[in-house]
């Protein structure tokens, strides 16, 4: 079954979420108001919980860290300590320092990842061709070559290159025809499943085969059935599961 709650992946982790909060709240990353950000962070965790999303343990560890920092910030500074150290030293002991450092370090690589993404797109605009088959030109006998270190990685890399290499499209006409049949077929399948069930079916269960094409076709089939008023869809609450059922004659 496919879980749709993957939207949690919108944040790569607690650091990513914190960066997002810092930006949304327009906070200075070097002077984070810990109380405010902790509150926001906890609301987020709570909401995830209410939405019954799996909360990765890292998110909880960060919540604890934030609370610890918050309580340290609230502790009154002892007079004697302030006397002993100069104010600069007191700054260095800011309980937020370590977190800020981590956030800044992480943000660097988040941007670097962004740069890589652009490079990836840019590279995608160039098309190459496979090496030509030059067998006719080769000597009859294979000369014995001294083996270089060919590793499993080399084979994997060659395979990936092959997968990335763009393939010529089959003639358009056959492509469309094939898909049209599939959607129709899938619509019939869905209808007979629903009628046999005589009740409602979880939307997720309409996607038993995790193949891209099947998901797309199923989805289009469902949309078409809704449009034709052959099935109805209900959702009891926001983010709740979606159910579909066949519309009975005369309903």
């Amino acid at each position: 079954m496919i879980h749709y709650n993957v939207k949690i992946d919108a944040f790569e982790g607690p650091l990513d979420l914190l960066l997002h909060l810092i930006n949304t709240l327009e906070i200075d990353i070097y002077d984070i108001p810990v109380a405010q950000i902790t509150e926001q962070y906890l609301i987020y965790i709570k909401t995830m919980n209410e939405l019954k999303l799996d909360i990765a343990s890292e998110f909880l560890v960060m919540a604890a860290t934030l609370l610890a920092i918050k309580s340290k910030m609230l502790l009154p500074k002892h007079e004697e300590e302030l006397d002993e150290f100069n104010s600069e030293m007191a700054y260095e002991e800011d309980p937020r320092d370590e977190l800020v450092e981590r956030l800044i370090e992480y943000r660097k690589y988040k941007e670097a990842a962004h740069d890589l993404k652009s490079l990836e797109e840019e590279r995608g605009l160039m098309y190459t061709k496979p090496p030509s088959d030059l067998s006719d030109l080769a000597k009859e006998k294979q000369p014995e070559k001294t083996e270089k270190n060919v590793t499993l990685y080399d084979m994997l890399a060659a395979f990936q290159k092959l997968l990335r290499r763009k393939k010529l499209q089959r003639p358009l006409a056959t492509k469309i025809a094939r898909q049209e049949i599939s959607i129709e077929t899938r619509m019939t399948e869905i209808m007979s499943e629903l009628k046999k069930l005589k009740g409602r079916k979880n939307f997720n269960d309409l996607f038993p085969i995790p193949a891209k094409e099947h998901i797309v076709v199923t989805f289009l089939a469902v949309l078409e059935l809704i449009k034709r008023k052959e099935i109805d869809v209900e959702q009891n609450e926001n983010f709740g599961d979606i159910f579909v059922h066949a519309i009975q004659e005369g309903e």
């Binding site: 496919i2 749709y4 993957v6 939207k7 098309y127 190459t128 061709k129 496979p130 090496p131 030509s132 088959d133 030059l134 067998s135 030109l137 080769a138 000597k139 294979q142 000369p143 070559k145 001294t146 083996e147 270089k148 060919v150 590793t151 499993l152 080399d154 084979m155 994997l156 890399a157 060659a158 395979f159 290159k161 092959l162 290499r165 763009k166 393939k167 010529l168 003639p171 358009l172 939307f203 996607f207 995790p210 193949a211 891209k212 998901i215 797309v216 989805f219 469902v222 949309l223 809704i226 869809v233 959702q235 979606i242």
Partner: protein, 195 residues
């Protein structure tokens, strides 16, 4: 009005099409012009290639398709390229072929060629002489083509205990992809039922 550089586009298309070549109809379709016009563009490019002696490639008509090919007078250098000891011990072609066999065995030559989009006789020969692959049987049906599979030497060569130790890859890729697709469609679905 925007000027479309037909020649540049056609050269790109022919290059990317490789050994499969393009029919006149295909060219017309992709360029979104009449076949007559497509024919003119092709003819023009053929002329350009012919006039310029510095070109190392030319357009040839083969089995109803147009394809790019290397000029015959450079064949001696291409021969040196093939026979060069500097050419990797296992070339890209051989590695690709080996990967396909490793992951899809048993498999026929025709099936391998369908995946690679190019002739695969030579890489198969290379792999056979290096004993990395072997014939493991015959396919059913007419022709009864040979089926290829990997050998014990293959495992040794890559330091694998058994074939199960090969890194699993296509599933993972597919899985991630499906997840993203599912998200996208779910969003659209939500929109469509909310409106």
């Amino acid at each position: 009005m925007e000027i479309i550089n037909w020649q540049s586009i056609l050269e790109s298309l022919l290059f990317a099409a490789g050994d499969e070549g393009l029919t006149l109809k295909h060219v017309a379709e992709v360029l979104d012009v009449e076949e007559l016009k497509a024919g003119e563009i092709i003819e023009e490019l053929i002329q350009v290639y012919e006039k310029d002696s510095n070109r190392g490639i030319m357009i040839v008509q083969l089995a109803g398709t147009y394809q790019l090919a290397t000029k015959k007078e450079n064949a001696s250098y291409l021969k040196r390229l093939v026979d060069s000891p500097n050419t990797a011990a296992l070339s890209q072609a051989a590695l690709e072929t080996l990967a396909i066999i490793a992951y899809k065995q048993p498999i026929t030559r025709v099936e391998i060629e369908e995946i690679r989009g190019v002739k695969t006789e030579r890489p198969l020969h290379t792999l056979m002489t290096k004993a990395l692959i072997k014939e493991v049987g015959r396919a059913e049906g007419t022709g009864r083509a040979y089926l290829y599979g990997t050998t014990k030497e293959f495992l040794d060569y890559f330091g694998l205990k058994n074939i199960q130790e090969l890194p699993k890859l296509p599933d993972r890729v597919e899985e991630e992809f499906v997840q993203e697709e599912a998200d996208l469609f779910f969003e659209r679905f939500q929109e469509s039922i909310n409106t």
